[in-house]
Structures are given as C-alpha cells and as structure tokens.
C-alpha cells in the first residue's frame, strides 16, 4: 500500500503514518516492539523507564470493562541500564523508537533522557502524568513549576526531540501545557484516574485500588483537551486517548494533533490495528476531501 499521503514529519521524525504505539502497551520487550513496527506502527514509545528496576503492582493490574480498560501496572520497568538492550533489538525494524521516562525531579529526568539518546532513541517522552504511583507522574505533572524545570533541563540535556505527556487529571491543562512550552511537542493525554469495585467480593478489583482509565470511553475527554490546548497554545500535539478507528484518529487530527498514539485499542483489535488504521484512513481521507493527512491538522479548531 502506498502510504505517502499519511507521511508525517513530527518534530524532525519522519513517520510513515501518524499512528504511534502509546507508552505502556506491548513495549518492554525489544522483540515485541520490533514486531509491532514491522506490522505497521510508524513508531513506538517504550514503557516508562525509571532509574532502577520496579516490579510494579501485583496482579490484578488490569480490569477490562465494556468500552474501557482500567490499569494500575505500577510503572513496572527494568530500569534505565537494562532498557538499552531492548531498544537495540527494537531498532532493527528501522523505525523511530521514542523512550518514555519517569523520574522524581529534573536531574533524574535529564539523566534518563541522555541515556535514552545514547541508546539510539529518536525522541524522548516525559511521563509527567502516570496517575497511580506516588511521587511520580501526575504528582509532578500537576505542578507547573516542576514541569517547567523538568522540560527545560531535559531540553538542555539532549538533541533529540522532547515530548511532554500530560495528565488530564488537572484543573487547568492549559496552564500545564504553557509550563511545558519548551517541549518540542505535547502528548495529550495520559489516562484518567478511575477504579472498579467488585460488589460480591466487596473490594476494589485492582490491587492498587485506583488505576488509569483508557479506551473508547475517554475519547471525548482527550479530544476536548487536545482541542483546548491547540486553541490556546498552538503547540505541536500528539493526540492519544480512546482512538480505535481511523475516524477517531481523524477527529484528533482535526482537533490539532499532528500524529496520534494507539494503546488500549490493541486489546480489542490486536497488533493488526496499525495496518488496518492506515488503509482505513486513506479511504476516509478520500471521503472527507483531504489529499494529505497533514492538511487536516487543526482544521476544526475555531
């Protein structure tokens, strides 16, 4: 299939299509990332990696619901020193690998970013938004001063593009987006905080009680946040949140996303979703009157 109409240049990264594998899904084993790239993803974002190995939470770490998924994996990761092996294996696919990182302060984020760059990552994504681990993620990402310092320091530390992934669990996302202004692009949005209770067991299902809500249920929320941030800041945005079809993706693009990430939809449709989204998108562009996907970016923002 000729995908040239779907080509995107994202902050210097040449992407075959706008469809990137989101962080946290099938992205800690290098062979898995390599396979997903070969099967049609334009790029992958690794699982979020910290300074040291973490087992994460004990299962249940997921609860699949009707049209949504709750997860509290707990930042399970092998640590920055071990992920290089996996990035190298994944790189054999010849497509960009974006390293996702989480730290407790600007110093850790900068060190992690430099390591990811040394492993050959094409970009680095700052996880400023994990909703279920104390001291990391959204606890840092809801403080504009911390966000500004982390993004600024990481930008000074690496030459590869820096993506800041923000949380929807804040009162005013535009304030945080402005604090992250020095990032090359914003990734909007991480999961929403949520939970599920089993009424017969009389307790939360996830071992961590709280988790992140993703999947089709959150698409309207993510879409609105992308739209709002695009309108208020004009920043380059990577949209993520509940995209399971080319039509969903095109909505996100029209709201201002230059490319999009796919995560939970892999649960429903399998890895094959990446190639089917690409072919669906081309026929959808024919019906909606776009020659190139880049022509649709932000057209709905008024």
């Amino acid at each position: 299939m000729n995908l040239s109409r779907l080509n995107v240049n994202l902050c210097g990264l040449s992407l075959e299509t706008p469809f990137i594998l989101a962080s946290g899904i099938l992205d800690q084993n290098g062979y898995t990332m390599q396979r997903i790239l070969k099967e049609g993803a334009a790029a992958v974002v690794t699982k979020s990696i910290g300074m040291v190995p973490r087992n994460g939470y004990a299962p249940p770490i997921v609860f699949p619901g009707d049209g949504y998924l709750l997860n509290a994996v707990g930042l399970s990761n092998p640590g920055i020193d071990k992920i290089g092996t996996e990035v190298k294996i994944a790189s054999e696919a010849g497509k960009p690998i974006i390293g996702s990182i989480f730290g407790k302060d600007a110093e850790e984020f900068s060190l992690l970013a430099r390591k990811m760059e040394s492993y050959g990552c094409a970009g680095v994504e700052l996880n400023l938004s994990c909703p279920h681990v104390k001291g990391f993620g959204s606890e840092i990402g809801s403080d504009p001063d911390a966000v500004e310092e982390i993004v600024g320091d990481v930008k000074k530390s690496v030459k590869i593009p820096v993506f800041a992934k923000l949380s929807p669990n804040v009162t005013d996302i535009v304030e945080i987006a402005k604090a992250a202004d020095r990032a090359d692009a914003l990734v909007l949005v991480n999961t929403l905080r949520g939970m599920a209770i089993d009424i017969f067991a009389r307790m939360p299902v996830l071992s961590n009680a709280y988790g992140g809500l993703s999947g089709r249920a959150i698409k309207p929320v993510g879409l609105r946040l992308v739209y709002e941030v695009k309108k208020e800041t004009g920043k380059t945005i990577v949209g993520v949140g509940g995209i399971s079809s080319a039509a969903d993706a095109l909505e996100y693009v029209m709201a201002g996303s230059s490319s999009v990430q796919i995560g939970t939809a892999v649960m429903e449709s399998g890895r094959a979703i990446f190639s089917s989204l690409s072919s669906e998108m081309i026929s959808l562009m024919n019906r909606t009157g776009f020659d190139r996907i880049t022509d649709a970016v932000g057209v709905a923002v008024k």
Binding site: D27, G56, S76
Partner: protein, 252 residues
C-alpha cells in the same frame, strides 16, 4: 468482566496438586486458560483442565495465590476472567500427549479413548492424570526412577515410534519443551507446545509474557513446532516481572 462461580468439588490428584470443579456454562477450547482472582491476594493464570460442565482447574501449590486456591473448599466462590488464549488442534486418529508435572492440566481436555500419553514427573507422586489414560497407551517417566522410565519426558519420548502419531501435544517446563523441540524439529511431525511465561494482564497488552513479539496470552499459549523452532527467545531468554531480560540459555 469478572465471572463468579461456585466450587462444587475439590480433590487432591497428585502431590500438592488439586483439581477444583466449578459450574460455568461457557464454551472453552482445549488449552485455554483463566486469569483467576483471589480477592485481596492476587490474580494468576491457570489452565482449564476440564472444559465440559462442570469445568475444572488443576492447580499446583507454587506461590501465595495458588496455595490459597488449593485450600479452597466446596461452596466457596471463585472469581476469574477469560477464557483466554488460543487452543490445541488435535488432528487424525493417533494422538500423543506429553505432559511434565502440572503441565498436564492444559493437555487434559485432549485425553480420551485411544489417546496415547507420556506422563512425566519428578517422582511417582508427581504424575498428573496418569489414571485417565488406557494402561497400554501410557508411558511414565520419573526423575528418580520411582515409576516407569528413569529420566525425563524426552527419554520416554525417544522410546516411541513418533512418525505413527498424527499429532503430538506437549506442555511442561520450558527446558523440557526445548529439548523435545530440538529432538523433533525437522522431522515430518505435527507437534504443538503450550508455553508458560510470566503473565500479568492476560489480554495482550502488558508485554510480560511475550516471546519473539507474540503474546502467549493472546497469540498463544499454543504454538506449532514450525513457528516455535524459529523463535529466538524460546529456551534462550525471558523477561522478569520488572522487565529485565534474563538468559536461561537452555540450549547451550
């Protein structure tokens, strides 16, 4: 979605191995598994050993959660998600199943009249579902020689005229399966293996159980020898719970 079912019977069928029956009216294929939740303690993947109604799981005491499950009694409630995974594809009239220890649980739905078996265990107390085979069609191996062939499943397998079997189905520890795969690859045999790796989500997203980019919980756990023999990670390396690659190097 979490399913609830009532335990109708519990029986110890080998040393530390319990068969737990429960009522559940759902279609399950041979080789599929459940994610079984013990509220407040954890969730683990478990093979469905009996796929009619009542259904059964066959569990070996291994960690905290499996121990709690083994201590369940008639009338208790079990909670689970599933069934998950692909399934065995038995073909033809002469079928051989090869089970090491509790690996026999996932193979159990294939046992029937005329089916041949190799039942392997560490000792004569670790032989799972031995009594369910026709006596003249089963070969036993034990590591300590307390019953049958002294040795492992491969030693017992080498005694068979394998080309006579129309399909062969194997489940057990990865080292056992790797040795068997090495022995059988390149021959004109129809062989399937059911793999086991660290599994957390069961729904193909967390990447804990992946092998060569395929997810055991979704693309597997059953793989044909033609695919498995090409997998670089089989018998070589796997990821820990944190995602650190550890080399098992079974093949060196």
């Amino acid at each position: 979605m979490m399913v609830r079912a009532e335990v109708t019977r519990v029986a110890e069928i080998a040393s530390g191995v319990k068969k737990i029956d429960f009522e559940w009216d759902a279609k399950v294929l041979p080789g599929q598994f459940l994610m079984l939740w013990y509220p407040g303690y954890g969730e683990i993947p478990i093979s469905i050993s009996h796929i009619g109604n009542p259904k059964s799981i066959t569990v070996k005491e291994y960690g905290n959660v499996s121990k709690l499950i083994c201590n369940m009694e008639k009338g208790n409630t079990i909670y689970f998600r599933g069934p998950y995974g692909n399934h065995f594809n038995p073909k033809g009239k002469k079928i051989l199943i090869v089970g090491g220890g509790s690996g026999m649980a996932s193979l159990h739905p294939l046992i029937g009249p005329g089916v041949y078996g190799i039942v392997a265990g560490r000792t004569s107390h670790d032989l799972v579902f031995l009594d369910e085979f026709d006596r003249d069609k089963v070969t036993v191996s034990t590591d300590d020689g307390s019953m049958g062939v002294k040795g492992n499943a491969l030693d017992a397998l080498k005694l068979q005229k394998l080309e006579e079997f129309t399909s062969i189905h194997v489940c057990g520890p990865e080292i056992m399966m790797f040795r068997i795969m090495e022995h059988l690859v390149g021959r004109d045999l129809n062989v399937e293996f059911s793999l086991e790796r660290t599994m957390k989500c069961g729904i193909g997203i967390c990447d804990s159980c992946s092998i060569d980019g395929k997810q055991l919980c979704r693309d597997g756990p059953v793989f044909h020898i033609s695919e498995l023999s090409l997998m670089k990670e089989f018998g070589e390396s796997k990821l820990t719970s944190a995602g650190e690659r550890v080399f098992t190097n079974v093949h060196t």
